[in-house]
């Protein structure tokens, strides 16, 4: 099927079936909210777009994957709790045993199992390799002790994949393993963390002598860092998508109309600058999307897209908050008041430059691997 026809098919399905009230959610949806939509995707065979068809995925080419993502973003489709399908699935496909593929993948794809990711710890954020959650071998099990933090949507998850330390004597990355755990296992405590934008989507997960069978290790012992490292091209480019900035800019325009701000020359000047920032951000995104569509590997310079995209998004929300003036005082985070909410997008945008690799880390990576500056 050619790209244009595929785009139309995806668009029509989304417009027909996606719940209107869930469009452009300012926060991640709870499972109960998004489940009906996900069930429709599963029924259509569209819940694992990037998996090979032999595992029930759509087997989409990079170009079509981009289109699939793009159409969802265009309509404001919320991301379900899809870390299982997006992250764990490809990991199991690449590093898992045949038995693991057989037992894990089907339920992952149909969301019978819902996964959350345990990487960060209170003392291991940017320096993830220093993680200290320990897993000791006892007979046929691993026994896990430690704490994970910033785990997205753990309260809705049935299963958990995590990085643990299995060799304290080895150099940091060399002593890490990749384990799978059932959330119903005794010893697991989940505590939601409320964030400044008013929602509770991140959790702290405490593991107190939690047992998981050894067959729940993916990849070899002490090879977990390698297993977890490979992030998919389209996930990396997705975090740099200009949609967040473009959507925020639309809200800025709505605010401007509401407050009659286009009469103010000073406002118009900064508004124009931000408009051009979004247009040029799209041009940078287009460069990488074009590479991906032509089947080329995305290099380390993709980091610049993430930095630019999230900082542009922040700048727009900062200006929007400023431009909302006294109106901003009437809308509190997470509230339902009328008028354009300038506060929630501003607060939500704060996390963009922190999550999934801070922009400081992205700059370190760019300096070292793209600009070849000495360490």
């Amino acid at each position: 099927m050619n790209d244009d026809d595929f785009r139309m098919e995806v668009r029509q399905f989304i417009e027909k079936n996606y719940p209107t009230e869930l469009r452009f959610m300012p926060r991640r949806p709870r499972w109960r909210e998004i489940k009906p939509w996900v069930m429709q995707l599963i029924e259509k065979g569209w819940s694992a777009p990037h998996w090979p068809t032999e595992y029930g995925g759509m087997g989409l080419s990079p170009g079509k994957l981009l289109i699939f993502m793009d159409e969802q973003e265009r309509w404001g489709v919320a991301r379900a709790q899809d870390q299982g399908v997006v992250q764990l699935g490809p990991i199991v496909i690449r590093y898992g045993t045949e038995e693991q593929k057989r037992t894990l993948l089907p339920k992952m794809r149909t969301y019978e199992t819902i996964w959350c990711q345990g990487y960060s710890e209170p003392n291991a954020g940017s320096d993830l390799a220093s993680l200290a959650t320990v897993a000791l071998i006892e007979g046929d099990d691993f026994v896990i002790n430690g704490r994970k933090i910033w785990t997205s949507s753990a309260m809705d998850a049935t299963h958990f994949y995590l990085l643990v330390r299995t060799d304290k004597t080895a150099k940091k990355q060399q002593g890490i393993s990749f384990l799978l755990v059932d959330m119903k296992t005794p010893g697991i405590t989940v505590r939601g963390i409320k964030n400044i934008s008013g929602s509770t989507e991140f959790c702290e997960v405490t593991l107190d002598n939690v047992r998981t069978p050894r067959r729940n290790m993916v990849g070899e012992l002490n090879q977990g860092w390698t297993v977890a490292k490979g992030l998919l091209g389209f996930e990396r480019i997705n975090s740099g998508s200009p949609r967040r900035a473009a959507f925020a800019f639309n809200r800025l325009e709505a605010l401007a109309r509401e407050r009659g701000l286009f009469k103010d020359a000073g406002f118009v000047e900064r508004y124009t600058q931000l408009h051009l920032d979004v247009a040029d951000l799209k041009a940078v995104y287009l460069h990488f999307a074009d590479l991906m569509t032509r089947g080329e590997t995305l290099g380390a310079d993709l980091s610049i897209l993430k930095i630019l995209s999230l900082e542009t998004y922040q700048r727009i929300t900062e200006f929007m908050l400023e431009a909302s003036g006294d109106l901003g005082l009437t809308v509190h985070a997470g509230g339902d008041e009328e008028g354009v909410d300038a506060l929630t997008p501003f607060l939500v945008a704060r996390s963009g430059t922190i999550a999934a690799g801070t922009t400081e880390i992205q700059r370190n990576i760019t300096a070292k691997h793209v600009l070849n500056l000495p360490v």
Binding site: A246, A279, L286, R363
Partner: protein, 394 residues
């Protein structure tokens, strides 16, 4: 009206981006070889403060390479190509700080001739331009404080055989050695463009120096007689011809600025890698690394925004206003980015950056000159807003 292919239009955009890049690869290689730096930067440095401020031999070489005829129709001795090709050349000009006034003569003045309506004059002047035998300059600007492309005070009064032109033009780039001037004036029936050969213009010429050391001319016109057959474009055509030449000059100048950014960044990164203080190359310090990354991001934005603009220009049904908006968009971006990069580059070079001996200062001054020429970032953002943001008109 689209100002850029948004991601939803990416399907149309992506294949043309890739195709464009492949088509231009050969030209890019040839420009790269010509612009191999050291020679030209030294040359330009020595020519600062002189007139004509460039090397006629190099001008002839550029003619032989076909550069000067890039945007001239084939039937008039050129290659009949467009902005995308000219932008590749422009980038080379900026990268190597070539002093030759290619954009001013070929794109701005040459463009006014090409888009004008005087076929006889075109046949006389354009082949000569393509062959490097004639260097034209466009005199449009009248006021140092205000830049009005289409509203001019210079008057062309009707005479028996043509017009008599009186007024003052300033900041004519390439005017110091021009063989003739394209002059905009308010004619009997509206805005018109006229050709004034150097001999007739000479009495009114005076010169100044641009920040980058190249000469620029002011032209006082005191009843200069111009025959009817020297009118390049009359009312109805003049405004569109002038605007298109202006917009294309904005775009090619933006490409020059991209070249300036690219080389300034390269020089700075080299310095960071080699300058040792406190026992380490200073490029290992995180503050400088992060600053360098931010400059790199600016350069990349210019690169991809320019590609995007050039890709949009390939639309055969492109409207005038859309071209103007695209031109202003990219000029604003490259002006801002190049000033930031070259400013920071001076800082990162420490005291050496402040010395005239160090090349980086030359890049700063070229960035200043090109950023300001034809209007700086703020002028063009305002122009863009007027042309492209419908919500402001509501």
């Amino acid at each position: 009206m689209t100002n850029s292919p948004s991601p939803e239009g990416a399907d149309n955009g992506t294949s043309s981006l890739g195709e464009m890049r492949e088509r231009l690869a050969l030209l890019r290689d040839s420009v790269k070889r010509f612009a191999a730096c050291e020679v030209h930067v030294k040359r330009g440095r020595a020519l600062r403060g002189t007139r004509p401020g460039y090397d006629p031999d190099v001008w002839r070489e550029m003619a032989e390479l076909g550069w000067l005829g890039t945007m001239i129709p084939e039937r008039l001795g050129g290659s009949g190509l467009g902005c995308a090709e000219m932008a590749v050349i422009g980038e080379g000009l900026g990268y190597a700080l070539l002093p030759e006034p290619v954009t001013a003569a070929v794109v701005l003045a040459g463009g006014a001739l090409v888009y004008g309506e005087n076929e006889a004059l075109k046949s006389e002047l354009l082949p000569a331009l393509a062959e490097g035998r004639l260097v034209p300059a466009l005199a449009w600007r009248e006021n140092v404080h205000r830049a009005e492309l289409l509203a001019v005070d210079t008057r062309a009064e009707k005479t028996a055989r043509g017009v008599r032109i009186s007024g003052g033009k300033c900041l004519v780039v390439g005017g110091a050695s021009a063989d003739g001037f394209v002059v905009s004036a308010q004619g009997p029936d509206g805005l018109a463009l006229y050709w004034i050969p150097a001999a007739a213009a000479a009495p009114g010429l005076s010169f100044r120096e641009l920040p980058d050391g190249r000469p620029v001319a002011d032209l006082a016109l005191d009843g200069v007689e111009v025959a009817d057959n020297q009118r390049i474009a009359g009312p109805g055509v003049a405004a569109a011809a002038l605007t298109r030449a202006f917009d294309e000059a904005l775009i090619v100048t933006s490409a020059e600025l991209l070249g300036v950014c690219t080389r300034a960044l390269e020089i700075t990164l080299d310095y960071l890698r080699t300058r040792v203080q406190f026992g380490k190359p200073i490029g290992s310090f995180q503050a400088l690394q992060h600053r360098a990354v931010d400059l790199y991001i600016q350069q990349r934005i210019c690169r991809h925004a320019l590609d995007d603009v050039l890709s949009c220009l390939q639309d055969p049904e492109l409207q005038l206003d859309v071209r103007s908006a695209l031109a202003s968009r990219i000029k604003a971006r490259c002006a801002d980015a190049s000033l930031r990069i070259t400013r920071d580059a001076i800082q990162m070079h420490g005291a050496m950056g402040y010395s005239d001996e160090c090349d980086i200062g030359l890049y700063l001054k070229r960035a200043i000159t090109l950023s300001m020429w034809l209007g700086g970032a703020d002028v063009h953002r305002r122009r863009y807003a007027k042309l492209a943001l419908r919500e402001l008109a509501d």
